[in-house]
Subunit: 245 residues, 2 copies
Amino acid sequence: MTDTRNNLDTRERILDVAERLFMAAGYEATSMRMITGEAEVNLAAINYHFGSKEALLREVFRRRLAWLNSERLVILDELEAQAGAAALKPSQVLEAFFGTLLRMGEDPALGGMVFLRLLGRTLTDPADFIRTFFAGEYAEVIARYKRALFRSLPDVPKEEIIWRFHFMLGSMSYALAGTDMLQIVAGCEPNEASATNAEAARRLAARVMPFLLGGLRAPLPQFVDAVAQRDEAAGDAPARTVLTA
Amino acid sequence: MTDTRNNLDTRERILDVAERLFMAAGYEATSMRMITGEAEVNLAAINYHFGSKEALLREVFRRRLAWLNSERLVILDELEAQAGAAALKPSQVLEAFFGTLLRMGEDPALGGMVFLRLLGRTLTDPADFIRTFFAGEYAEVIARYKRALFRSLPDVPKEEIIWRFHFMLGSMSYALAGTDMLQIVAGCEPNEASATNAEAARRLAARVMPFLLGGLRAPLPQFVDAVAQRDEAAGDAPARTVLTA
DNA sequence: CTCTGATTCAAACGTTCGTTTTAATCCTAA
DNA sequence: TTAGGATTAAAACGAACGTTTGAATCAGAG
């Protein structure tokens, strides 16, 4: 009985293993020898097929983000077509943006939870080539959804919406990346530890979406008086409360 | 004129530089030669004073978290003493937990925004020794604040509170770590780019605290019927809406 | 079959990594 | 002033890193 080496071609086997190892250990801590070893391909195959380790990481993401971002645009187009001249509801926009993401976690063919965790962790990676890459991949989708949020929340200052979009991305990114801190918070293994990845994705979706919507629609912040801020900066004892509410 | 090498002793100069470089490039991508070079100390000084690179990272965090966590416990003690038998308001608990954190960003002596960004980025690091370290450092404080949140939200299932605590940690962690994605979302440099770090911390605090509170108090999720879930897992086409609301 | 381009392979490249060693230097207490 | 522990210094260690090379092997077209 021969092995399964040629069931998938070398390129995709490298991508699959790299996706999993980058998720488990991070980009820097994952060596090309770990990847090629586990994929049972020659060390030189990565440089032959992708050019470099950096290019491999980019291709790992491009493979998944191509589907994700195109799907996000299609769904937003559909929603806006249905709504006609009316503005979408904030919940519709969030559902389109984050729901599409979470659906990847339920479908192994789209990367499953492995890719979602990798994405969550890599979004905060400080490496220049990663930040540049994500900026390019996300620019169009973010711009479209930003406009949709502006229209859906006409009474909220645009700057505030931008910040809250940022916070929502953070909640989601972290929720995906970190089973770790969740275990610290929970004080034990999450319940139903033997749940499949698809079930885990559904559970996460059901819990995180209301949280995001609640944060997005929260009362606007009460800013501290600018004069008080200046006094503090001048050396007065800082007030203990950051938020007055 | 002699240099300023001995104004601070070697240990603290290593810690300061390491804190900044770990923040800017991450743990793996920061070499000991970069640290000792910039700190103008001998390469062997890190192993002499701290034992290893891993132990150095731990000490970088211990130095700041000692203050943070003790302050968090003291403030919670005070609040609970004032409240007597009554439960605290959720906003008070959040203010104590996250407000204390954000105050570090305003005070360079406590690490300032450099440390906050390092903390935000490192919380999602997959390295085992880092996760183990944070689990130990955070256990007591998390347990205390979890109990306080349970009491302040008696009608919300504890499991739901745990998840939302997790999401709030994520929003905050990401908000601290990522000026990067914010720039993508904003489409340009954040306004008042020349603001001081202390001002940046205050602005962030004013914006993120209402978001967290809104997420924490959001309506409870409407779970999909368990039977429908099982049908989906059995191979039916997955529903397109992750959240029904 | 033979030729040709694509792919795989083993081996080595030069560099950088964290750590260790041994000697020199500094600082303080006797 | 001098002994002795604490700190710094320069140099080297072996291991692991990403990458490159050149030959071997494969697969499909003529």
